[in-house]
């Protein structure tokens, strides 16, 4: 009898300890105000054309960006397009993170991140696998998280094509993203690592900051499609290769070498300054 009781207790203890792969260490849920003390001119008014500084892009990305015409965003198909999961952190929007709790185990099984102009973005913590590569790709992608100490590391796949910067720099649907959510008291710092075999030569890493903001509420953002520009139905705004007259405007305005503004992995590293000075 006693032996059975001990066995039962042992089994129960093991079950509790083993069934907690997603045990939350830190609560990220709450209202987070975005702090745009980095790259504010790019993030609020929007990036200038031809500004690819410090982004490890390849020539294919430069060609796509040079073909991009901002008027593209007046197309009906583009007007309500949300920012993708990798870009939205860097947008000018407040953030709400909510948690989904298993009613029995009381474990957090998912966080949901939502911004203005975004779709709901769940990050699953319940150990589920990512779907087949052939599963649909979405703006939010498919995200799973696991704890590394107090840091939540998130793997994002299944993203639709998006952009690295809102001036035409593309990010392909083959890209994957890793995120590290770090909470330091009332500050949230999120590191995003974008790996894109199509448009990047190295992972593109950024860190973005938010601050806990108790009186904030992310408002709804209903979006309606309207006819913004009268143009033939089959016309898509673009520039043909070599025809974009705006690609050097940014370099001229800020007295920077055009080579630097064209981006590339080399421009991310401190030693690139010697090239800038030599010009």
């Amino acid at each position: 009898m006693m032996r059975r009781l001990v066995t039962l207790l042992f089994t129960a203890c093991m079950a509790v300890s083993v069934s907690a792969p997603a045990s939350a260490q830190v609560d990220f849920s709450g209202e987070w105000g975005v702090r745009m003390y980095e790259d504010q001119p790019e993030r609020v008014p929007g990036p200038e054309l031809g500004d690819f500084l410090g982004i490890p892009i390849n020539n294919a990305a430069r060609l796509r960006a040079a073909a991009w015409d901002a008027s593209l965003q007046t197309l009906r198909e583009w007007q309500c397009r949300p920012h993708s999961a990798d870009y939205i952190w860097r947008g000018p929007s407040p953030l709400t993170i909510s948690k989904e709790v298993d009613p029995v185990s009381r474990e957090i099984v998912a966080f949901h991140a939502e911004w203005l102009r975004s779709v709901d973005r769940p990050v699953y913590l319940d150990g589920r696998p990512h779907p087949s590569p052939n599963a649909p790709h979405t703006w939010a992608g498919f995200s799973t998280g696991r704890w590394e100490g107090d840091m939540l590391t998130v793997a994002v796949t299944h993203l639709k094509e998006g952009y690295l910067r809102r001036n035409g720099l593309p990010r392909s649907d083959k890209a994957t993203v890793r995120e590290h959510w770090i909470r330091n008291g009332d500050f949230l710092t999120v590191m995003t690592v974008v790996t894109d075999p199509v448009y990047l030569t190295e992972p593109f890493v950024r860190t973005t900051d938010y601050e806990l903001t108790l009186n904030q509420q992310v408002p709804p953002y209903p979006c309606g499609v309207v006819q913004e520009v009268d143009r033939p139905k089959d016309q898509v705004p673009h520039f043909l290769p070599g025809d974009n007259p705006y690609m050097t405007e940014f370099a001229t305005k800020h007295k920077l070498p055009v080579e630097a503004t064209q981006g590339g992995a080399e421009t991310m590293y401190p030693d690139f300054r010697s090239k800038v000075r030599a010009r």
Partner: protein, 248 residues
């Protein structure tokens, strides 16, 4: 019988030894021994953000993104790099509130068991993060790097599991007034800098140091100036090229 006596004697020796140990005051492990994360090594800043304000010296009056008050803007508008150089103030942009934002490599190493030392290529500066009793040493005159008190923040354990990993919190005060950006955007000697050092590892073998910096300055800032900078870990024996402080 003899074996029985010997066994009892052995037990008594063990118990006695244990008692002797218990009577000694416990020795607290050093900050170095307690480190929940290894931050040491050479790291290079990867400038994918604020490039225009970090990789080159921006023009006078370009203080976009910084929450300055009117007095600070006046100071920034009066920036004179020639005067700074002539008056021995060339390191104003290399103080603790800005140094981690400057492009370059940094080298982190222990100096003893209670001080974490950070050397920077940019401006050839040295920061000393002091833990525990080392932090209580006598204060001296303000310096560019100020006085930094460090504290580990171990991750919380869960359901009896021991903590795994953690981060470093550093609070710096007693700084000379300096520049948040090389073009004379000011912070005052009343500023406080709070930093959080976290480390993240990637499947491709890259290791990253993420430094979140919060600058509070009752004289020049209207709010907390928050930035985060990232550094990629370098292999041993790599390039190390310290440079002097430069104005302009």
């Amino acid at each position: 019988m003899t074996r029985g006596v010997a066994g009892v004697a052995a037990i008594l020796v063990v118990v006695g030894t244990g008692t002797a140990f218990a009577q000694q005051p416990p020795v607290a492990p050093s900050a170095r021994a307690q480190a929940p994360v290894d931050l040491t090594g050479d790291w290079v800043s990867v400038v994918t953000e604020d490039w225009r304000w970090r990789m080159v010296t921006p023009p006078k009056g370009d203080y976009a993104s910084v929450p300055l008050n009117a007095e600070a803007r006046k100071v920034a508008d009066a920036w004179n790099p020639t005067r700074d150089a002539a008056s021995g103030e060339a390191c104003r942009a290399y103080g603790a509130a800005a140094i981690m934002r400057l492009p370059g490599r940094i080298r982190i190493a222990w100096e003893g068991d209670a001080v974490l030392r950070v050397d920077t290529e940019a401006g050839s500066q040295t920061r000393l993060f002091r833990f525990g009793a080392a932090a209580a040493e006598a204060s001296s005159a303000p310096t560019w790097q100020g006085r930094s008190l460090a504290q580990w923040q171990p991750s919380g354990g869960r359901r009896g599991a021991p903590p795994s990993g953690g981060s470093l919190r550093v609070v710096t005060t007693e700084m000379r007034s300096g520049y948040l950006r090389k073009n004379g955007v000011p912070y005052s000697s009343s500023a406080t800098v709070t930093e959080y050092y976290n480390r993240a590892n990637e499947p491709n073998g890259d290791s990253w140091l993420v430094v979140t910096t919060v600058v509070e300055d009752p004289r020049y800032l209207t709010g907390r100036f928050v930035t985060s900078s990232h550094f990629k870990r370098l292999g041993a024996g790599g390039t190390w090229t310290p440079t002097p402080c430069e104005t302009g």
